[in-house]
């Protein structure tokens, strides 16, 4: 099954323009469009963050995100769903990942959106390298969901 988005790439090294993506999601069958933007915080675990650098195993990440989106589209009868994740450098307040879901009513769009971002964060081979303002750096691990 093909994701109902025209030839969209799910991993990009370009800044994410979520207002354009959002505009593309409007359609007469969707009474609800939910947009989640994962943004880079200026601090983490008490340290001041300078920037993040994301890396992905791109072919696998692309196919896994497509599969997660298709599952969500089927499970919640969505009209559309998209998830695009950045690789490369993302500055503080920059958008690292965007998930948009569109459905007839809001409950489905909200639930599906959370389902997609949770699975992408925990399953898809994408990694963040945090660079702190003190010159140190650290690879992240998504094992502390209860903090998110």
């Amino acid at each position: 099954m093909v994701v109902k988005i025209r030839d969209m790439k799910f991993i990009t090294d370009k800044p994410l323009d979520y207002s354009t993506l959002f505009a593309d999601f409007r359609d007469p069958n969707s009474g609800a469009v939910v947009l989640f933007s994962g943004e880079v915080r200026g601090s983490n675990q008490g340290k001041s963050v300078d920037r993040l650098e994301y890396e992905a195993y791109i072919p696998m990440a692309e196919s896994m995100i497509a599969s997660i989106l298709n599952e969500a589209i089927d499970k919640w009868s969505l009209n559309k769903a998209i998830c695009v994740h950045r690789i490369g450098t993302v500055e503080v307040m920059g958008c690292a990942v965007v998930v948009i879901t569109a459905s007839a009513h809001r409950a489905s769009a909200y639930e599906a959106n959370k389902y997609i971002i949770d699975r992408v964060k925990h399953e898809v081979p994408i990694w963040k390298h945090e660079f702190f303002t003190d010159g140190t750096s650290e690879w992240g691990e998504n094992c502390e969901c209860h903090h998110e």
Binding site: G38, Y54, E55, A56, Y57, P59, M60, S63, M64, H85, A96, V97, I117, V120, K121, H122, E123, V124, P125, I126, W127, K128, H129, W139, G140, E141, N142, C143, E148
Partner: protein, 84 residues
């Protein structure tokens, strides 16, 4: 008789503190993916904790540790995800 082959291992993210982006591991066949993890550990014992957290992929599919290796296969070691 066992045949020794060179397996290419792809490493990402935090694993590259310990290894190059790719490593060549000599391995007699038949062997499993789990044996590649053991050989990587022998190559750099400091990577023990990180190797213990990695999943294994061949192509674009995760495979279990008992998955049988074949000649010319590239094994990717996938550290815990940290997207978002």
């Amino acid at each position: 008789m066992n045949k020794e082959v060179e397996i290419t291992v792809g490493c990402f993210a935090g694993l590259r503190k310990y290894f190059g982006a790719t490593e060549q591991i000599k391995c007699p066949l038949p062997a499993t993916c789990g044996e590649i993890l053991e050989k990587m550990l022998a190559k750099n014992p400091e990577a023990e904790i990180m190797l213990g957290k990695c999943r294994i992929a061949i192509g674009e599919q995760f495979v279990p540790q008992d998955f049988a290796l074949t000649e010319n296969v590239v094994v990717f070691l996938i550290p815990p995800s940290s997207g978002g």
